[in-house]
């Protein structure tokens, strides 16, 4: 039996910022060696109720079986205990912020909540691999790039990824950025390059491989 590594990646962020859309696009665009069904648990008005989950992965001959489970959390404030349960034992986090001007307060509240919940489940926002994505760049009344630079360039999470998940822009790039930040920790824990000859570029290539007909980046 090959050694199995299961990694958990959580899409976090305020309500309606596009977390599920990110997952739907990954499901449509990615073509990894292995990909399971996308499980979507939502209410009738398209709000995530528990979580969404997409399993992807690849096998290295008969020696290694890497699985990534991509989760979303419900963004609405009242589902905090569900968010905390989903966040438990996460290996990496993608924070999906809403670029619209009137959503900046919600972004801040949700980011605070992320830090808080990570702490509660024994993780540290300063140390966990984390990528911040500003979504909905296709809309008109949005925060300018200049402002985002001023606010975030001195943080550990710079550069941000600007995306339009609905159009499929920036989704793969965000995921890729997260894998880049995730690789060193996984390599250290499991000796990916030492034991299996999987260096960072192989790791990225095998997990972000896209369908030929949908190559949108």
């Amino acid at each position: 039996m090959p050694n199995k590594i299961v990694l958990k990646i959580v899409y976090y962020g305020p309500a309606m910022s596009g977390k599920t859309t990110n997952l739907l696009q990954l499901h449509a665009l990615l073509d990894p060696q292995r990909m399971g069904e996308l499980m979507v648990m939502e209410t009738r008005d398209d709000r995530t109720l528990f979580f969404d989950m997409l399993p992807i992965g690849f096998q290295q001959e008969q020696t290694l079986d890497i699985r990534l489970k991509l989760y979303t959390v419900p963004g609405q404030v009242e589902h905090d205990s569900t968010r905390k349960a989903v966040l438990s034992r996460a290996d990496g986090v993608i924070f999906v912020a809403d670029s619209q001007l009137n959503q900046q307060e919600n972004n801040a509240v949700s980011f605070e909540n992320l830090a808080d919940n990570l702490h509660k489940v024994g993780l540290d926002i300063e140390r966990i691999p984390l990528v911040v994505q500003f979504n909905k760049r296709d809309l008109s009344r949005i925060v300018e790039e200049k402002t985002l630079r001023e606010r975030w360039s001195s943080s550990a999470w710079w550069p941000l990824v600007l995306s339009s998940a609905l159009k499929g822009h920036g989704v793969i790039e965000t995921f890729e950025r997260l894998l880049e930040r995730l690789y060193p920790a996984v390599n250290e824990a499991h000796g990916l390059s030492r034991h299996y000859g999987i260096d960072r570029s192989v790791f990225l290539e095998r997990l972000t491989r896209c369908r030929e007909d949908h190559h949108v980046r």
């Binding site: 299961v6 958990k8 292995r34 990909m35 399971g36 069904e37 499980m39 648990m41 109720l49 528990f50 979580f51 989950m53 399993p55 992807i56 992965g57 699985r67 489970k69 205990s81 569900t82 905390k84 349960a85 989903v86 438990s88 034992r89």
Partner: protein
């Protein structure tokens, strides 16, 4: 605790009875027997959930049909899993919430207990502060009252002194005139009686005026109008003066007997010592029944002067004696005693570096003894 890293097994996804039912339906649909295996076997088709094979289908059916049967079973498992995962997550979240609530509850209880304790000790402290404040207010009130009485006496003494002076003087002059008139009117016998009577009237008035003058002298001395400072004074004279002030309270003139030795003058505050003697005599006089007597003695003992005030009044029980020096403790009716008599005596004696002793028996009387240093230094 729900752990989403462990993949769900077939049994966790779908109860065995449901699996059996699904297999019968699949077999009927395909028209050939399909067997569900829990371990891989050559030629068997895997049934996956979340990238993990959870079972294998073995059958003689053509491969596309076998794959379709496996896919149908996977679809079934996928939807069963949705419920199972949601239920697990819900349970985890609920348990966490419950634990958090319990912790909050425990913390609240602890803090409530802390506050209850605090409030109890606070009440105690407030009560004791209130007691202290009430006591010092009472003391202030008493001393202010005593001061006011002293000022009133001093003022009165001054106001009375001047008219008494010229009344005495006028009376004397009138008496001289009357002498002259007597000489020139000796012949008239009737007039002689009248003048005789007039003489005695003037004598009496003069005597009265002199007594008022003496009383004013005593008040001035007692209220200490002239000298409020520390000085050497004659204790015996102070006792006599104080007794004169209490004359109206005496049942008979010989109720109080003074046995005063010759004494050196002692240093101190005569006004305060006077107050102490006044209190001691008042206490003694008020305890007396019919035929009650008070004896006051003074004598030098070593480097002290001993002053005793002994009465044969009703005396004190042990309980009363124990509390006698407590400020505001009184056995008299409300308004009749301040409860400050003995405490003031104790304060005065202590201020003069003296000592004090109280003995008393119910029905036998009370003896208060003070010792004041002859060469003491008052604070």
């Amino acid at each position: 605790m729900y752990d989403d890293r462990e993949e769900l097994s077939l049994d966790e996804l779908l109860p065995p009875a449901q699996v059996t039912r699904a297999m019968i339906l699949l077999t009927n649909l395909c028209g050939a027997e399909i067997v569900l295996l829990r371990h891989p076997e050559a030629q068997a088709t895997p049934v996956e959930f979340s990238l993990e094979p959870v079972a294998w289908l073995k059958s003689d059916l053509p491969i596309p049909q076998r794959r379709a049967a496996a896919a149908l079973l996977e679809l079934l498992l996928f939807h069963a899993a949705k419920y199972r995962l949601a239920a697990n997550l819900h349970l985890t979240a609920t348990e966490a919430n419950y634990q958090e609530l319990q912790q909050q509850h425990a913390a609240l209880q602890a803090s409530e207990a802390r506050y209850r304790l605090l409030s109890e000790s606070l009440q105690e402290r407030v009560d004791s502060q209130v007691r202290t404040i009430r006591e010092s207010q009472q003391k202030l009130y008493e001393s202010a009252r005593l001061r006011a009485v002293g000022q009133l006496a001093a003022g009165m003494a001054h106001e009375i002194n001047t008219p008494i002076g010229f009344i005495s003087s006028n009376l004397r002059t009138a008496q001289e005139y009357l002498g002259e008139i007597t000489e020139s009117a000796e012949a008239e016998s009737n007039l002689g009686e009248l003048i005789e009577d007039f003489h005695s009237l003037l004598e009496e008035s003069l005597d009265g005026a002199n007594r008022i003058s003496g009383l004013i002298r005593d008040i001035r001395l007692f209220a200490n109008i002239d000298q409020t400072d520390h000085r050497h004074f004659d204790l015996n004279a102070l006792i006599e003066t104080t007794l004169r002030l209490l004359q109206p309270d005496l049942a008979t003139p010989d109720t109080v007997t003074l046995r005063l030795d010759r004494l050196p003058r002692i240093p101190g505050y005569p006004a305060k010592i006077g107050q102490a003697i006044h209190n001691a005599l008042t206490n003694a006089l008020r305890s007396l029944g019919d035929e009650g007597k008070v004896v006051v003695t003074t004598r030098p003992v070593d480097d002290m002067i001993e002053l005793t005030v002994q009465d044969n009044g009703h005396g004190m029980s042990q309980e009363v004696r124990e509390r006698a020096f407590e400020p505001f403790y009184t056995t008299r009716e409300v308004g009749m005693g301040s409860g400050l008599g003995l405490p003031v005596i104790l304060d005065v004696v202590t201020a003069h570096h003296g000592r004090l002793n109280l003995t008393s028996e119910v029905g036998q009387g009370t003896c208060l003894t003070l010792w004041l240093p002859i060469a003491g230094q008052a604070s």
